[in-house]
Amino acid sequence: MLRRLGAKLALVFVATSLTYLLASITLNPAQVYLNQSQQLSESAIRSNLNTYNVNPETPLFERYWTWLSGVAHGNLGLIYQTQTPISEELLRRMGVSFRLLVVGTVLAVVLGVLVGVIGAIRQYKVDDYVSTIVAFVLLSTPVFLLANALKYGGDIANVGFGQVLFYSDGEYHTGPSAGLLERAQHLALPTLAIILGPAGIAYFSRYQRSAMLDVLGSDFLQTARAKGLTKWRAFFTHGLRVALIPMATFFAFTFGLLLVGASFTERIFNWNGMGQWAIDAINNSDVNAIAAIAGVVALLVMFSSFLADVLHAALDPRVRAAGKVAV
């Protein structure tokens, strides 16, 4: 288990380093100074670029080394052209993203599993067909279209009711002490976008349905029925646990997709979280911020896959008995 954790941390390091190098090659921070109305002197630009360790005249590996030794001392660098330390901004942004994602993701997983289980039990009935087709349409709808359509729908509802029910202008507008109702009004539409989005209810329900169908045909469920359990009791006491095992590993893969989807949702509903920052950082050629974001994302993805291994072991006695975690 510990060795696997070490391998995962090594992967995080390699992926983050490669992102830093890649971003250093593709982005051109010096370009920002070309478009400014008042031209700075050449030496001023050079010293500015050096402050952020993005001077293209410094060899790439020297820049990488400077960045790496900074990171080793907990210094992630400064946000391009603002002098703010990245680590501060990172914590703030992660908080925003977390508050945006947590409700929607939990709801999406729980509802998705529920819909999938019901769909499998009622296979080829009308409601199974309906939920299958709805899931197909949702999976084919890009989140940027969905989120904008929800924003449009919220606007129509606001006009229809003659008062503002839904906000789509960020986390809150009165300040961090905003009341619960106001926060809920701001959270409603983006949460709906996450639940209905690509890493949402449709996605989980499809996989849960097929995992459940595999279990339904198994011998141990027939035994459970044969000893007199009703169909539903047999499912919930014996079947569901087994059908949840593949979902644990599956969720780890979904994590990256969730973060990508969140960057659209954050941008459209104007939440200044990690996803929004990633987009802005690429647009501003902020190499250090991109590397920091990539590092955090890699850590989260690896952590969720580690968690999936643990969950897998907890749910599957065969894995525990073998004494090691299989993927």
Partner: protein, 299 residues
């Protein structure tokens, strides 16, 4: 048993069987009809329209007109016909989707079967590369690369999308190749001195054809979603070229989201229909190839 009672049985090849199961599948029919319709719309309809997407002269008298008999999809801020724009975007999205899907499945098949067949250090190297590439969401990586390919051909965008989309399939191909490697006919070929790449081409890949075809189909919709998503953020197709993603980005920005919804609703519906039809076809194919599935089977 008398001889007269034996009726001649025509042998059905596996390909025929799969084709029949596919044709009987309801999703294949729906998806096929929608996709054919969209492809015809994208490549034939523009010849019959009085507006060309290349007409870049602004026509402010026709600015932001809603859908009407003259402009079926309405017009945008500078009076361009939105139908012509959407069709041009659809063309690009379809082309990028197909190119990226073919390339990505091709990479997956090559890399995965090399790793699985040869084993040893090439397997270890490929596995590590796959692991590293799977750490970060490929959308983020392509977005970081995008500034370097801006202003070049959109085929390059398709290739970059494909370059970061093959890893999961390659893993599956690798494990399939591992199990096929020890089959008798592969060993026989090996002892007869057949070259490794010939074995991969003639014995391994045909045995995975069904997986690869389904994967390529589903990659089409994945690549279309990736391209439009990148274009939505401004990392994909750049003006003056249009994609369904850029059209939706322009249509939903600022007040036009609520004041002129046709700007994003029509390209949006077109995009959803495209992805949906490809997903339908891919799912029907998977059912047709999967021998355990009852859909499309003779009832």
């Amino acid at each position: 048993m008398s001889k007269e009672r034996v009726t001649p049985v025509r042998a059905t090849s596996r390909a025929q069987l799969v084709m029949r199961r596919f044709r009987r599948h309801p999703l294949a029919l729906i998806g096929g009809v929608i996709l054919t319709f969209l492809i015809l719309m994208a490549y034939v309809l523009p010849f019959f329209l009085p507006y060309r997407p290349e007409d870049l002269d602004p026509d402010y008298a026709q600015s932001l007109v809603g859908p009407n008999p003259l402009h079926w999809f309405g017009t945008d801020q500078i009076g361009h016909d939105l139908l012509a724009q959407s069709l041009s975007g659809l063309q690009k999205s379809l082309l990028i989707g197909f190119v990226a899907a073919l390339v990505s499945t091709g990479i997956a098949a090559t890399v995965g079967s090399i790793a699985g067949y040869f084993g040893g250090w090439s397997d270890r190297a490929i596995t590590v590369v796959i692991e590293v590439l799977l750490v970060l969401p490929s959308f983020l990586i392509v977005a970081i690369i995008s500034p370097a390919i801006q202003g070049t051909s959109f085929v390059l965008l398709a290739l970059v999308i494909a370059a970061f989309n093959w890893m999961l399939t390659a893993r599956v191909v690798r494990s399939l190749a591992l199990s096929l490697r020890d089959r008798e006919y592969v060993e026989a070929a090996r002892y007869m001195g057949v070259k490794p790449f010939t074995i991969i081409r003639t014995h391994l890949l045909p045995n995975m054809a069904s997986l690869l075809i389904v994967d390529a189909t589903l990659n089409v919709s994945g690549a279309i979603l990736a391209e439009t998503g990148l274009s939505y953020f401004g990392f994909g197709i750049q003006p003056p070229d249009v994609s369904l993603g850029t059209l939706i980005a322009v249509g939903t920005s600022g007040p036009s989201l609520t004041s002129s919804p046709w700007l994003w609703a029509f390209p949006g519906v077109m995009l959803v229909l495209t992805v949906l039809s490809v997903n339908f076809i891919g799912d029907a194919m998977r059912d047709a190839i999967d021998a355990n599935s009852s859909k499309g089977a003779r009832r």
